[in-house]
């Protein structure tokens, strides 16, 4: 919180703006159904969990539309201990 927010506790508009921007980018893109994303999410999670212990909350799956193609984006966080072990094996 900066000094200006301190003086102006009524300044909630910036938050409104930010929330809208995030929400609308999402809504504009989602030409495929939320159910489809949920299904992919579940199956990808199951596939990875067979090999690595992951926190389901640290997995982010999204479909983005770019011009004429769509990108399936999967972001997941792998715990440091697991990735270090994997690195050692490789080396």
């Amino acid at each position: 919180m900066n000094i200006f927010n301190f003086f102006r506790r009524g300044a909630t508009a910036p938050l409104a703006r930010e929330r809208l921007q995030i929400l609308l980018t999402h809504e504009r893109q989602s030409s495929c159904s939320p159910q489809l994303i949920a299904m992919i999410h579940k199956e990808v999670l199951a596939a990875i969990a067979k090999h690595i212990a992951i926190d389901p909350d640290k997995v982010d799956i999204d479909i983005r539309h770019k011009d004429k193609v769509s990108l399936l984006e999967i972001n997941l966080e792998i715990p440091a201990s697991v990735s270090e072990a994997a690195d050692k094996k490789a080396a």
């Binding site: 200006f4 003086f7 102006r8 009524g10 300044a11 909630t12 508009a13 910036p14 409104a16 703006r17 929330r19 809208l20 921007q21 929400l23 609308l24 809504e27 504009r28």
Partner: protein
């Protein structure tokens, strides 16, 4: 060439009906022939805002179904003689309005008027999609508030996909009318600012209508605010917006924000 304009928003209570009446009256006052058409079947209000509620005999559905002709149903305004109203019906049956029926009415209105302004009901259902279906131009009405802006975004999506114009591959002309704008609140960061809304919706700005008692007073007496409360800031804002619709490059005046010393100092930061 007639222009068919839809006034739409998604959300209810943002000022569509008020804006339809005010823009219609302002356009008619320049001598152009204008018909304002109420598409809010079952919840008609445009007649009330125009002060013509006791003169409605036939309505849009009667004409669409062929039970009355246009000349019988059009109500001529008592103040501006190039302004006409086609009221909505009070029927509960929303399916009474068909696409073919509306197409015929709009085609006939096009022949008689310079502007046909369709006052859309709230929502994204049949009534709203029928109101926008045959439009050449859209005025998207939004208030500087999260749910209204989100719904406007949905409506912009529909305008770009569900209208005849969009389906034939043409670009739908869209304008943003920001209504019920409180400059003081925006400057204190309590309400989205003009730039916030413009950034998010990214369609050109047609006008900013201040939140004002003059609008209420005008609706109390049954007159569009642009002719019922001449000289008021809201009336001027609607008159300017109407001129912009006609292609006149009227400079955009941002509503004045009255700020105290502290506000002047910190106001910009929050915006």
């Amino acid at each position: 060439m007639a222009k068919v304009l839809v006034v739409t928003s998604g959300k209810g209570g943002v000022g569509k009906t008020t804006s339809t009446a005010a823009l219609g009256a302002a356009l008619a006052q320049t001598g152009q022939k204008v018909a304002v058409v109420d598409f809010d079947v079952g919840l008609r209000n445009l007649d009330l805002v125009m002060g013509a509620e006791r003169r409605v005999v036939f309505d849009l559905i009667n004409v669409a179904q062929g039970d009355a002709n246009l000349s019988q149903a059009l109500i001529r305004d008592k103040r501006v003689d190039t302004l006409y109203l086609l009221a909505a019906s009070q029927t509960r049956d929303k399916d009474a309005l068909t696409e073919e029926g509306v197409a015929r009415v709009i085609a006939e209105l096009r022949e008689r008027f310079d502007w046909v302004i369709c006052d859309s009901p709230a929502g994204i259902e049949r009534g709203a999609t029928l109101a926008m279906r045959f439009a050449d131009v859209a005025v998207v009405v939004a208030n500087p508030e999260v749910s209204s802006v989100r719904d406007s975004d949905r409506i912009i999506g529909l305008l770009d996909s569900k209208t005849l114009k969009a389906e034939s591959g043409e670009r739908m002309e869209k304008h943003l009318l920001l209504t019920r704008y409180d400059a003081g609140r925006a400057s204190r960061g309590e309400m989205l600012s003009v730039d916030d809304v413009l950034d998010i919706l990214s369609i050109p700005l047609l006008g900013i209508i201040p939140e004002s008692l003059d609008v209420l007073r005008a609706s109390n007496i049954g007159a569009p605010v642009s002719i019922g409360n001449v000289g008021s800031p809201a009336a001027n804002a609607y008159i300017d917006a109407a001129r912009r619709l006609c292609g006149v490059p009227v400079p955009m005046v941002r509503p004045l924000e009255k700020k105290g010393l502290l506000g002047r100092f910190f106001g910009r930061r929050a915006a």
